[in-house]
Symmetry: none
Subunit: 124 residues, 4 copies
DNA sequence: GTGGTCTAGACCACA
DNA sequence: GTGGTCTAGACCACT
């Protein structure tokens, strides 16, 4: 399981959202696998159940998980249809980071080398 | 000058910070050039002066501008010493976006092509 | 038989209620015909018998079916006496949907055309 | 302002969502008009602020209002582009109600007459 | 003043 | 047992 950083600028529920997303992406959770219950996660992370709820709701709205009342929350299958808005947003993120890196003095070649390596290794 | 989006999820002052950063990066403001006064910007963007003040303070803390009391705010020279923590954080951002893009079904080749193009054009 | 959608926002028992209603309305079940037993349905839909029980109870309360202890559940005859409260509620639903459609930019003609077609075909 | 029905099957926040939607549709609130603050509504309806928040969030996600932190919530302009998924859902609602009305013994002619009248009068 | 987040603890319907 | 909703009351960042 992931670690929370209470000092972070990110809100707790957002950290949980990102943490679970990361676990789904990395394959630690597979499609249709059950996530821990709200109460369990709440106890594990020593965070209020409402906060976990909020995170789960957000994940559901973004299509990462689905909820079966009375049973629990489960990982959605990866969407086959690529959501253009979503990918555009991610490429935007990358573009902004690249701009800042350039401004911070890194050369195009340096950035390109590091990023290419990163992509080849699947983002690691 | 840049546009504010009141409906955006980003707070106003954050939009101003990003907007000014973008103008510095793009070269619309050069090193040691004077930025508009708080009052002017406030009038131009029809935003509370406190909000502008806050944005300037943030930019100063991040090293993008410096303040000369009684004269105004000026653009800093691009830092020669590369801040490792900052660049690491930016590369992290990129890595996360790449991971998510892969998970969303894009191929390594597609991502690499788009990102390479982006870097060659300086992040645009 | 109908399909259950575990991911749906509707609860399981509500889906069963609606499913059986639909089959009665469409004529797949006729008046005084026997419905499958709780145990059979439970096995067919792989759903807890309690949930089936609950659905049958709800259908009985709403007057769609009647129970003969020891024999099973049977489809009621269509009520001859029209329940004003119920019809008023249904017309209310329609009115609200129409209002929202108008607000969303559809023209009166478009709505009227689609709805008329729908009614002529018996709601399909 | 609208009335809450604590005995209703609908949850409170859902009633608030529907109530505000209705007021927007009816024109009681116009585009870019400010809604009451979370605290004010909370006091008016004697409902916990969190519940109001939840309702506002839902309205925002559905595109009915937008939020400006520190200023308040405002009514969105009616979308020019018609959302097919949304309209389909509304027509579905209507279809289901029509089916039930037919089953309850109303004739096609009766339903058609009432619904046509309703549409001509803009849903009233 | 505004909305945004969080905690603590409770009750409900559903499976 | 599960998630869904609600209350009460608190603190925060932003305008």
């Amino acid at each position: 399981m992931f670690q929370l950083d209470l000092k972070s600028k990110k809100s707790i529920y957002e950290q949980i959202v990102d943490g679970i997303k990361a676990m789904i992406i990395s394959g630690e959770y597979s499609a249709d696998e059950k996530l821990p219950s709200v109460r369990d996660l709440s106890a594990q992370l020593t965070v209020n159940p409402n906060t976990i709820q909020k995170a789960f709701k957000a994940l559901e709205q973004q299509g990462w998980i689905y909820t079966v009342t009375g049973r629990g929350c489960f990982v959605s299958e990866s969407a086959k249809t690529i959501d253009r808005a979503q990918t555009a947003h991610l490429f935007d993120n990358i573009a902004n980071s690249v701009k800042e890196l350039l401004y911070l003095g890194l050369s195009i070649e340096e950035i390109q080398k590091i990023v290419d390596d990163m992509i080849m290794k699947g983002g690691n």
